[in-house]
Subunit: 282 residues, 2 copies
């Protein structure tokens, strides 16, 4: 029986852990420093609780890191400090260069490493996702999730390739949402929102519909800021324009006030939050 | 009979002129400083040729400016220098602040002014477009294009509102094309283009299809750079993130090599042009 250390039981991490649990893995977590929400999720899922990350990593064969992008390097370092001796999988939405940096740290500590990227929603019976892997032997991970809603796909190439793929996917998916939210904020500021919607309605119906995505995205925006920063760095490192995702990072930063909302804000609440300056008077 | 001064007979300007001509206006243009392509278009359309902008504006009741955005202010100034005494319509893709600046110049010179923005393709029997107007009495323009494929729509509000609406529309339409071209360039650079297309194909079919738009856009990119700069300024003036369109401006700048191509480049040619640095070796 494989023991998987789940770092940490957030929304995505818990769903990933449940996939492994359902096909026979022992999924364990460390309660130290976790929010009450994460504790509740882990208890509900029946994961084995450990009191510290050291205790957790002592019993684990594989550790998977699923955390907000801005916390990925610190988390990797805490795994090294804990003296982990298994396989470490970084499944976070980080730049390829960040993945390579973590890989170097792991290599120096003698820890086996896989770069990973999850594309899709938290996996469940009704919602399949894909865990892309690169930079090592993916067999243990393929076995861990075989037959679950989390498809595992190893792609050719070194550490960084899986993260690059995830960055490209999110660069459009989340970047387009941020761009449209920014456009609606501008339209509101300039007093042309209804004229824009009238023009979009016949000629760009996808824009109209997609611009509403910002409502659901608003509650996750607090962790998307870091992801957009990582994506901007990915473009910059490649010699490509980084402005789109620096803009997207700022849009999501202005939406982080919606983090603890129980229901999605209205589109007017979203555009007001993005618009810091008052509406232009006509 | 109204005489319309067409400044200048580019692709869009010529189509707008033909609309007015077909319902009875005399459409005139000035051959001074125009490209052979523009001259040919104006001759083919049967517009009345004048030898200078002074001659042209002396006979015109209305002058309409349809030029690359970066040339709009200079063109407006040349209209003032020529001593024009009619109605000046700026239909360029410029920032509201630029439209207000031109409006002030016109006001100081005693020239009647309308802010305008064209949304849609060059109008023809098979392709309707809309000319939005703000900041003045739109009646003369409504009459000029009545019953043509160019719908005229006056929107409430001062000078700048029509330009703001056009900016919002293009911010998404052209911004999304630039974003997707940048994403495909990154995917090519990182060696994950086929994996990205495989992932897009079922989950984001619109992204796959829309990313191909960059092929047709490439030949127009030379004049979209200025439009993206104007849009970035529009966001900045409103206190909103301007990075998306600074990025879009740079993407289109890298595509200006395709200006004189007779056929659209392939998507590989597009991504190679955007990627200045060599592809990452796997």
């Amino acid at each position: 029986m494989t023991t998987l250390a789940l770092l940490h039981p957030g929304e995505m991490g818990t769903a990933v852990g449940i996939c492994a649990r359902d096909v026979g893995a022992c999924v364990a977590w460390s309660s130290a420093g976790r929010s009450e929400q994460s504790r509740q999720r882990a208890r509900d899922a029946g994961f084995q609780a450990c009191e510290s990350i050291v205790d957790l990593l002592e019993i684990a064969d594989i550790a998977i890191s699923v955390c907000p992008p801005h916390a990925a390097v610190d988390l990797a370092q805490s795994v090294i400090s804990a003296g982990f001796a298994g396989l470490f999988v970084d499944a976070n939405a980080i730049a390829p260069a960040t993945a390579r940096r973590i890989s170097e740290l792991m290599k120096a500590a003698g820890i086996e490493f896989l770069d990973a990227g999850i594309i899709g929603p938290p996996p469940s019976a009704g919602a399949r996702s894909t865990l892309y892997l690169s930079g090592g032997d993916a067999l243990a991970i393929e076995r861990l999730f075989a037959g679950t809603p989390l498809s595992v796909r190893a792609i050719d190439g070194p550490v960084g390739v899986a993260s690059a793929l995830k960055a490209c996917y999110a660069a459009w998916n989340k970047g387009a949402t941020a761009l449209l939210a920014n456009v609606r904020a501008l339209a509101a500021h300039e007093g042309v929102e209804s004229a824009l919607l009238d023009e979009w309605n016949p000629s760009q119906p996808d824009a109209l519909k997609r611009s509403e995505h910002a409502r659901n995205s608003a509650r996750k925006a607090w962790r998307w800021t870091g992801e957009m920063d990582e994506i901007a760095a990915t473009f910059r490192d490649a010699g490509l324009p980084d402005g789109f995702h620096m803009g997207a990072s700022e849009v999501f930063r202005r939406l982080d006030i919606f983090k603890d909302r129980s229901d999605p804000p209205s589109i007017d609440e979203v555009t007001r939050a993005i618009n810091k300056s008052p509406a232009r008077r006509l």
